[in-house]
Structures are given as C-alpha cells and as structure tokens.
Symmetry: C2
Subunit: 276 residues, 2 copies
C-alpha cells in the first residue's frame, strides 16, 4: 500500500519509522516544514517527500496533527484524497472531531476511521520519534460507522506495526476513559510541580516524585486544546479525583488513622487486583 503520513511530529514520525521497519508499504511524508521531511527522508523514515498532490495515490492517510489542524487539513485538501482511501486521525479526543471528519469523508468520498495510538513521551517533535514507540501499546479504533473491511485494514496494520492490543470503541467512551487515563495524570503532574517545594526537591526525592512529575514537561499548546475539547468528561473525572483526595485529606486532618488505613487499603487492593 501507499501510506501518506501527515505531520512529522513524534506521532507521525514514529508511524513512518514503524511502517518502514515492519512492512514493505511505501511511505509518503507530508509536513508543513520541509526540512523535517528532508531529515525523515535521509533517515529512511519515508520513501517520498510528498505534498497535497501525493494524496491522490495514497491508499491510507494517517493524520498526525493537532485535533483541530486535522479537521482543517481535510477541509482544505480533502478533494485530493483518493476515492475509497482509508483516512485515520491520531487525535487524543474523539467526540469533537470524529463527526466532522466523518462528514468530510462523505463529502470527499473516502472512508474515515478514527484512531488513537496510546503512546507518547514527555518530549515532542520528529527528533523524539522512534520505531519502537508503539511496541506493545494499545491502538484505539473508533470506527464511526466505517465499513468493517476498512476497520480491519487499520487494525491489521496496527498489529503489523507492533501494537500490542486493539481496542474498538465509541467516541464517547474513548473520551470518558482518556479523561481518566491520560488527561487527569497530565493535570495532576502540572498541579504537583506548581508547589513552591518543587524547586528544592533534589536530595529529597526518589521514584514517586519522578513518576508523578514526569509528564509535567507538557506541550501546553496541544494539551490545552485537548482539555478544552473534552471538558465535560474531564471535569467529571477531576471532581471524582477531588472527592477521593478530600476523603484522604479529611482523614489526615482528623487524625483518624483507621480511616486513612482503610482508604489506602482500598486503593492498594484496587491496584493489586488490576496487576498494572
């Protein structure tokens, strides 16, 4: 297949490198900044430096752009996409953009299948991309009424690239779960490092500091967009967290050791039963 990857950040770059590593598909890179494409080409991450015209020959298009930019790209260049091609995004929110991309797919005659690779790093850009990023990770597919052959094509491709698990879901369930599994930890990490103590942590800190603060090294522009477009589930999860946090705070404030132990034991059991 000819696969066009639009956007050469950590997500797009890692797709290119993984496709080249694991398959014989022909990879077309498309990106606003040409120098990044030249770097990707010289790295062997892409077979061709593409542009809108290259979309005409792509069987699969992977949009690795910010959510709103993915919609804008298709609004602008949708007419160049081959009829029947499978187009997927890789955005961290789905309810806001999947209906728009589905509508554009009907307008331009391609098939849209939403997806979200559950992998990332606390650094960004093509320089951070690598051909192992997706190994063992979960690939969430949000079919949005696409035909099952197109969903299977994308699912098979993901497994070929080394993803460890395919999760098929709706935009709503995706957004509700992502609010919890991904957005909340990012907000927690940011709130955590804003304590005045943070700058003096060295010598006093170990693994638990390191883990909870890691993703505070956040891409503020991207994540503020993700939070904005997932406000309702996110606020729900923030409120749940706040209640659970207050229950522990109150028990500590009251000096109620049994109650603290009870809450911690409940958390311990939850985590232990899940295994991970």
């Amino acid at each position: 297949m000819n696969i066009a990857v639009v956007g050469m950040g950590i997500i797009g770059g890692s797709f290119c490198k993984s496709i080249k590593k694991h398959t014989d598909h022909y990879v077309i890179g498309i990106n606003r900044t040409k120098s990044t494409l030249e770097k990707a080409f010289s790295d062997g991450a892409i077979d061709e430096i593409g542009d809108k015209e290259s979309l005409k020959k792509a069987d699969v298009v992977i949009l690795a752009l910010y959510p709103s930019a993915a919609v804008e790209f298709v609004e602008k260049y949708g007419a160049y996409i081959k009829k029947g091609a499978v187009v997927t995004d890789s955005a961290g929110i789905k309810s806001e953009i999947c209906p728009k991309l589905s509508e554009l797919s009907r307008k331009f005659g391609f098939v849209f299948v939403g997806s979200h690779p559950m992998a990332g790093k606390e650094t960004n850009g093509y320089e951070s991309s690598d051909d192992t990023l997706y190994e063992g990770a979960s690939y969430i597919i949000v079919p949005c009424k696409a035909d099952s052959d197109s969903v299977k094509l994308l699912s098979d491709l993901a497994l070929e690239l080394g993803f460890g698990m395919i999760k098929i879901t709706t935009p709503e369930e995706h957004d509700r779960m992502i609010a919890y599994t991904s957005q909340l930890p990012h907000i927690l990490a940011c709130a955590y490092v804003l304590s005045p103590c943070c700058k003096n942590h060295k010598g006093f800190s170990a693994g638990s500091y390191k883990d909870v603060s890691r993703v505070a090294n956040i891409n503020a522009k991207l994540w503020s967009e993700l939070f904005m477009e997932n406000r309702e589930p996110l606020i729900g999860e923030l409120e749940t967290l706040n209640e659970n946090l207050l229950a522990i705070i109150d028990a500590v404030r009251d000096g109620d050791k049994n109650r603290i132990e009870e809450l911690l034991e409940k958390a311990h059991k939850t985590k232990e039963e899940l295994g991970e």
Copy 2:
C-alpha cells in the same frame, strides 16, 4: 566494623546486601521472624543471625523498622547497645521520632544520627530487597546534634554502599520536603485509582496512567503511620496541591483556553528548568 541491621524488610534487607556487596564489614541481622534471617543468611546477605545480645558488639546499628517500632525497639533493648556505637534509623518521618531516639541515646550512651534512604519500591518485604536499591539514590542525614565524626562515619558508609548523594538537614525540613516529594505522590496515586474508571483502564492507558498509579500499590499500615506522624506539613502540601488543581479545574470549567495554556506552560517551564 560490625554492623547490626534490625528489620529484614526491603530497606533492611537491601542494607545487608549492599554492605556485603560493597564492603568488608561484618553484618549481623536481627529480625522478629527467624525464617527471614535464615533466608538472609543462606543468601549471604548477613554474616550472623543475631539477637539482642549481638547488639553488644555492633559498632553501627541500622534500625530498619516502622517509625514507632524503631523507638519501641530501643526503649526495650537500648541497654544492650555498645557505649559509643552509632545508631541510625531509616524512617520516613523525623520530627516525631528523632527527639525520642536522641533522648534514648543519652540514656543508654550511644550516638543517634537520624537518616532516611530515599529509595523504595511498590513492593515490600525481604523478597523485594536487593543490592542495587540504593545505587545513585539520595541518603538524607538528620544529625540531631550528633558529633561530626559520627555523622561522617554514616555519610562515608552511605557513599561506600553506592548512594549518589548525601543531604544533611533538620527533622523539620526533612518532614516538610518529604510531605511533598514522597507522601503527596502516594496520596495522589491512591486517590487516583479510587475512580470507578480505573478498573476499565486497560486498552485506554499508557505511560502517564502507569506512572501516576504505580505507588497506589501501597503498604497501608506503614503509610497511614507515616501520614499520621507528619500531619501538619502534609496538610499544608495537600492544600497547596488542591489550590493548584482547582486553578486548572476552574480554567477548564470556564473554557478559558488561554488560562489553561498559561498554567500548563508554567508547570512545563518549572519541570524543564529542573531537568528532572
């Protein structure tokens, strides 16, 4: 030197193994459960299965017990400790127990130097101990008016064992910083996994879920004691966190993208400048 390690959990066991790995000191293991001592002896982690009588020949005594148990141990067996021996604890809180242990040191004629190895795992017990646990970690020393030779002896020993950094501080500063660097992440992790979403995370989660939830696999008995004995600094840090969290929640609720981005960028800069 003869070094007695009291308590064969992850902390004590790792001290024994590290001493045997890196030094020629003679290690005496003391523990309530004899079978653990036999295991440690057969592992070569200790040179001798000891008891209260063995304390008479120890030049250094490392108490690797729960905070209150460390005080109780010395109250009960302090008379067996050699005059002039250096005794240290390894407890995660200091203001509550250091004055008690200092007082006992004057009563029994040994030197007490508080300490806290900044290392651990989300699992416990001798089985989790290993000879690399302390490699590169910080060793916090709380001298509590001990003479400088005794502090140096302990500091030199820690560096010999592979600790990467010695931090000398007061009980109050220790407890204030530990509330932030260690206790808070444990509370956050517990509050986080108590969300009803947690049990469905698989397929929707990646590194940020994994990191923030790791230490929810908590030893509820130990940590409820640590929280109870450090209530004031901990409540202060919890309140600071709660304020920072609410600032982000409010910005999300108001749909104020600029404000969200501003707060995230502040967190990002803090984390980036610290480097870790």
